[in-house]
Amino acid sequence: MNTIEAVYTQITAITDAEIQKLVHDPIELLTRVIQPVLWLMMFGEVFARVRGIPTGSIPYESFLVPGVLAQSALFIAIFFGISAIWERDLGILYKYMMSPAPREALVLGKALAAGVRGLTQAVMVYIIGLLIGVGLRVTVPAVLGMAVMIVLGSAVFCTFSLIIACIVKTRERFMGIGQVLTMPLFFASSAIYPISLMPSWLHVLAMINPLTYQVDALRLFMLPGYQTSFGLGTDIAVQVGVFAVLLAIAARMYPLILS
């Protein structure tokens, strides 16, 4: 087996294990649908009625859908840190680290698994979106573009979360810090309102937040007539760049979660 093939096998070993768990216990996925439903049907409906948020030619209900999708993928990806701590406590991670697989492969496997979980959310959000009558692009290229953006964004936040787990090391501390990080990530982004509305300090935060770029690209692929804020090239470059840096850090730090 050549090196590339071996590394591919190692990455997908981790991803497939996560997928197998979803197959054994799909109920968990269904519980994940509640949050986007609440956001779209309650928050979205009310704020659309208020008409206080300028979203150009796009109705607010539509504007919100990619943001809510990104949010639910974000929450799932952030969960991977705590699940790594859990796997450490069960002894599973010791065995992973004992294998000859490069740490990068172990991290990438988790990142891709977060992407797969994110895609299951996408399926559900599309269904809700269509049910509540939001106009979504459902052409093959648009859906593929959306899928790539979900996987990319999930990979970014999953890797970020693994780094946090390697630093805090316990479930309790992760719970605390997870809350503290996830909410600002979500609100300091373009997920639920255009960043042009933000006060300048928040605007700066939103501009360095990868979620902003993920949501911008998602809107491009999901909403007919959406004009990107930064351009698709920038959206992708920012996320790929951030992911590369996080992957390098996470691969170095991963063994620290054991001690």
Partner: protein, 263 residues
Amino acid sequence: MVSARVDDVPEVAIEVTDLTKRFGDVVAVRGVSLRVPHGIVFGLVGPNGAGKSTTVKMLTTLTPPTSGSARVAGFDVRRSPVEVRRRIGYVPQMQSADPDLTGFENLLVYARLYALPRANRRRKILDALHLMDLGDVRDRLVRHYSGGMVRRLEIAQSLLNEPRVLFMDEPTIGLDPLARHMVWERIKHLRAGLGTAIFMTTHYMDEAAELCDRVAFMSEGKIAGEESPSDIEARYGTGMMLDDLFIRYTGGNMLVEERAAAP
């Protein structure tokens, strides 16, 4: 006389020189030196806290030594950790199988992490499961396995890459007597069929006597002595048992003296 070829498999499986590990103020392992030849079962025995698990973690590249050196399967654990990992199997003291996957799926993850060729992956997994007597339960979630089954699954897992050196840290800790004997049977079976070195730790003397060709007694981070269970009586007199030596080496020698004083 035939001279040994330089590129032969190294005749020693494990060679440890002055290995030391500190955790802050705690010195868990203090200058341990050991030599383990191929093809034997070597037992590191000693009470809880003696430093056995820490020694195994250094030998399996999980934790770096503070000082000293160790070669395992011909490679230095510090300089070539990946080469060592390719050639060893490890059954940790703590359970490590994934409860949310089946036995087969657990092994598949490792077969792929070891990058075993796709063509014989399935065959090897099934062989390992059969060897550990788990063929019938391979598609059951591990959360429904008994403690003994999980242990045997972990041993199966550690065999997938056909290790030169197999490490087992307290392989029967927490198992009921029946499950223990079943694990013992499997370990003996391995030893007969494999030609690898097995390095195990235990604090049960009956286990060491049953399985090990050679034992080293560890106490407070140091090796206090080495013995071969099979010739203890020849060396120390009839009635002398591994338990007595354990006590002599690892704390007080009351029992040995009592026995000597008895008529």
